[in-house]
């Protein structure tokens, strides 16, 4: 188990190293100079040079890479070129929005998908099933930014139940903060919930066709009991995979939704940083997200083992 963990950690480390190189190299060739961007069109060339020197941009690329990597290993992500504050702090600040938003959306999507998927699977072929599947088809096909626009139009501008966007901040109270995350979370969750519902349903239908379900029924379990006691847990493996993928997606892929609702989240930070050529912020956030994805995948692997005893022996 320990050796397995160590090997796993080693391969994780190599992946991260490769990822960091890819990110750094990609951003090295991005055209645009953060110093010039900051100083605008009237700046004198020597002013730009002075700023470049202060930002450390005139040093060789390998040195900057090593500094960045070395710093990150110690939890120091460097200083943002444009904001002039530690990147770690900025990321932490943005995570206060992005993480709860991702979790909120994930919770919504799971809370919708589980009952809906089970319901549809149980009544396979019935009007309920057809209805749920139809709704999920729409949910998968709808562009979520469009859905977000429509929701803002209806719920913020016309009905005025929610504010049109922005983040109230956690210091304004839990409910207020959650309220400002509600529309974005719904917009993010809808397609995810639809996907998850479909996966849940098809995984359940697959397991319901397994021999051990027939065995269970032969023991005298009702259809519902067989589903709850035997099918559900077996169906969790594909569902867990999707939930893991979704979490990464929700954490990183909310850029557009964060823009529609002007939420100060990670995605928007990256977007802004890219247009301002604040490369160190871009590098660090992308690296962090890659790290998160890899860690979440690792967690999903562990969850498999928790669900499936067959995998425990190998770990």
């Amino acid at each position: 188990m320990l050796r397995y963990g160590a090997r796993r950690a080693m391969s994780l480390f190599v992946s991260l190293l490769v990822a960091s190189l890819v990110i750094f190299l990609a951003l090295e060739i991005v055209p645009g100079d953060p110093a010039a961007y900051m100083l605008g069109i009237n700046a004198e060339p020597d002013t730009v040079a002075a700023l470049r020197a202060e930002l450390g941009l005139n040093r060789a690329a390998p040195l900057r890479y090593l500094d960045w990597i070395g710093g990150m290993l110690q939890g120091d992500f460097g200083i943002s070129y444009t904001y002039r504050t530690p990147v770690a702090g900025m990321i932490a600040e943005r995570l206060k929005v992005s993480l709860p938003l991702a979790l909120y959306a994930l919770a919504l999507s799971t809370l919708i998908a589980f009952p809906a998927g089970i319901w549809a699977a149980q009544r396979r072929g019935s009007a309920v099933d057809v209805g749920v599947m139809g709704v999920t088809q729409l949910g998968v096909a709808i562009p979520n930014f469009w859905f977000a626009m429509l929701m803002v139009l209806v719920f913020a501008i016309n009905l005025r139940w929610f504010s049109a966007g922005g983040f109230a901040g956690w210091d304004s109270g839990f409910l207020a903060a959650m309220k400002s995350l509600t529309l974005p979370a719904v917009a993010l969750a809808l397609p995810q919930a639809s996907i998850l519902t479909r996966v849940m349903r098809s995984a359940l239908l697959d397991t319901l066709g397994e021999d051990y379900i027939r065995t269970a029924r032969a023991k005298g379990l009702t259809r519902g009991q067989a589903l709850r006691r035997h099918a559900l847990r077996n169906a969790m493996i594909p569902v867990l995979t999707i939930i893991g993928l979704q979490f990464s997606f929700l954490l990183a892929g909310a850029i557009i939704i964060e823009n529609v609702f002007f939420l100060p989240g990670l995605g928007r930070l990256v977007f802004q940083a890219i247009s301002a050529r604040d490369l160190i912020v871009v590098e660090s956030v992308v690296m962090l997200l890659v790290f998160a994805v890899i860690v979440v995948n690792f967690a999903v692997d562990l969850a498999y083992a928790w669900v499936d005893p067959r995998l425990r022996g190998e770990r």
């Binding site: 397995y4 090997r7 796993r8 080693m10 391969s11 190599v14 397994e210 021999d211 051990y212 027939r214 065995t215 269970a216 029924r217 032969a218 023991k219 005298g220 379990l221 009702t222 259809r223 009991q225 006691r229 035997h230 847990r233 077996n234 669900v307 499936d308 005893p309 067959r310 022996g313």
Partner: protein, 524 residues
């Protein structure tokens, strides 16, 4: 009074007739064998009793179980019956258990569902049930998971679940088909003992007359959804029953073989499988599948290779065919090595062909039969083209009793028996000296199998073919081979003329195997 009385049962699934007018009965303490080839409706009859039929099924007639007609019962009442009054054991021990639950929990569930008892008591009783199926908890803990058990042990767990509440009727649907012969014998013995102890009725469903003949008091023969005949084994008289009986123990007519010249020589072959890959580098220790095997195949003979699953016989076959390099030893055909350095010796390989077990997986479903049959021509340095190729395919198809026109069709249009003929045609097309028959008739129904065996015998005589006949089924090997090799744990433990080995087995393992093999009573 009968425990189970099926009267004029009819069944249709989505409008398609599956069963017609099926009537049979099972008395307490009685073992009734239900025999039939695939598609005979024997499993559907059992599922009708359980009312666990697939969607769209409609029953008619009566199924009286302990005085109630299960066809009129509501789902709730049926759930009360299942597991309580009637238990069922299924064919596949691999998939019939929930992989995510301990065996204790799965056996205890039968009890928990039907009786208001605590978890602890249910587990204790599950332990007792497992003890009765010879899986005492001190040897196999209740907290084990199915994947940690062997196939035979899993099937015992399945039986324990079915008999935990001592039902009056037990239905066993091909309970031993997926097991090795020795395990099969043990499980059959166990079922017999349980019937005697509990006085329950057992409906034993099988495709194998040999399995049922020794156990059942009464035999029901089914065919195409109808009951053909029922009665004591010795009293079966219907022509179909007789034919079935004959086919089960079919001895194809073939001249005795007396050649001595070796065609294939296997000497000290060792075959290891690398361990599982672990991380970036490094693997677990390799497992040895074939361990220092040496033997000859003589030109023109039928050599049998028997052994239970995992004994290494398939691995050996693949090594002979040159599909995988060996770690040690030599394999030579007519003095030429199968492997020439690290490359496969094409000159040798074009003299060997193979027929696999699975009539469904052996063919690329997207290819026409002609293209499939012609595939081995690739081995020739100058393969025939155009009309010559067509003629070769036609000849190969004709030689196995198919029409040349069949070459234009696709594989899904053929039955299992026809597919094995096509596989044989594919092997014959390059006129090999040696054909490896890897469980080539194991998946076929007995009557089809008998025809296939006749065809093989005929071809071998006509074309002077040599067969390596690999099988787990001793009765078949006994009827068709000249010499036999018995393999266990990667080694050949016994070798000799077939008749001699079967009459006077030398090795204890051979003796066990032969004893466990179901035989039809000679009286029939």
């Amino acid at each position: 009074m009968s425990l189970l009385r099926i009267e004029a049962l009819g069944l249709s699934i989505h409008g398609q007739r599956v069963l017609r007018d099926v009537s049979l009965r099972v008395d307490p303490g009685e073992i009734v064998g239900v025999i039939g080839e695939s598609g005979s409706g024997k499993s559907m009859t059992a599922l009708s009793v359980m009312q666990l039929l697939p969607r769209g099924a409609r029953c008619e007639g009566r199924v009286m179980l302990a005085g109630q007609d299960v066809l009129t019962l509501r789902e709730r009442a049926l759930c009360g019956l299942r597991g309580q009054a009637v238990g069922m054991v299924f064919q596949e021990p691999m998939s019939a258990l929930n992989p995510l639950q301990t065996i204790g929990a799965q056996v205890a569930e039968t009890i928990l569902i039907h009786e208001k008892v605590g978890r602890r008591e249910a587990m204790a009783r599950a332990g007792e049930a497992l003890e009765r199926v010879e899986l005492p908890p001190h040897r196999v803990a209740l907290s084990r998971y199915p994947h940690e058990l062997s196939g035979g042990q899993r099937q015992r767990v399945g039986i324990a679940m079915a008999i935990a509440l001592r039902p009056r009727l037990l239905i066993a649907d091909e309970p031993t088909t997926a097991l090795d012969v020795t395990t099969q014998a043990e499980v059959l013995k166990l079922l017999k003992r349980l019937v005697q102890e509990d006085g329950m009725g057992l409906m034993l469903i099988s495709h194998d007359l040999g399995v049922v003949a020794g156990m059942a008091e009464r035999i029901v023969i089914m065919r195409q959804g109808r009951v053909i005949e029922q009665g004591r084994f010795g009293a079966l008289a219907h022509p179909y029953s007789r034919a079935l009986l004959e086919a089960s123990d079919h001895v194809p007519a073939r001249p005795a073989h007396d050649g001595q010249a070796p065609l294939l020589r296997v000497s000290d072959v060792v075959r290891d499988y690398p361990g599982r890959r672990q991380g970036w580098r490094g693997r677990a220790a390799p497992t040895r599948a074939v361990d220092g095997v040496s033997f000859d195949i003589r030109r023109g003979e039928n050599l049998g290779l028997v052994g239970e699953s995992g004994c290494g016989k398939s691995t050996l076959a693949r090594a002979i065919l040159g599909l995988e390099p060996v770690e040690g030893g030599r394999i030579e055909l007519d003095g030429q090595p199968v492997f020439d350095g690290h490359r496969v010796n094409r000159a040798v390989r074009r003299r060997m062909q193979v027929v696999f077990q699975d009539p469904y997986g052996s063919f690329n479903p997207r290819w026409s039969v002609a293209r499939l049959v012609a595939e081995p021509l690739y081995l020739l340095d100058d393969p025939p083209q155009g009309a010559a190729r067509k003629a070769a395919v036609a000849e190969a198809l004709s030689s196995v009793g198919l029409r040349p026109e069949d070459g234009a069709r696709y594989i899904h249009e053929f039955s299992g028996g026809q597919r094995q003929r096509i596989a044989l045609a594919r092997a014959l097309i390059i006129r090999p000296d040696l054909i490896v028959l890897d469980e080539a008739v194991s998946a076929l129904d007995v009557s089809i199998r008998a025809q296939m065996l006749d065809l093989l015998a005929d071809l071998s005589t006509r074309l002077g073919l040599t067969y390596l006949f690999i099988s787990h089924d001793l009765s078949v090997v006994r009827n068709v081979t000249d010499r036999v090799l018995v393999m266990q744990g990667g080694r050949i433990v016994e070798e000799g003329a077939t008749a001699q080995v079967f009459a006077a087995p030398g090795h204890p393992y051979t003796r066990r195997l032969i004893a466990a093999t179901p035989r039809l009573p000679v009286s029939a």
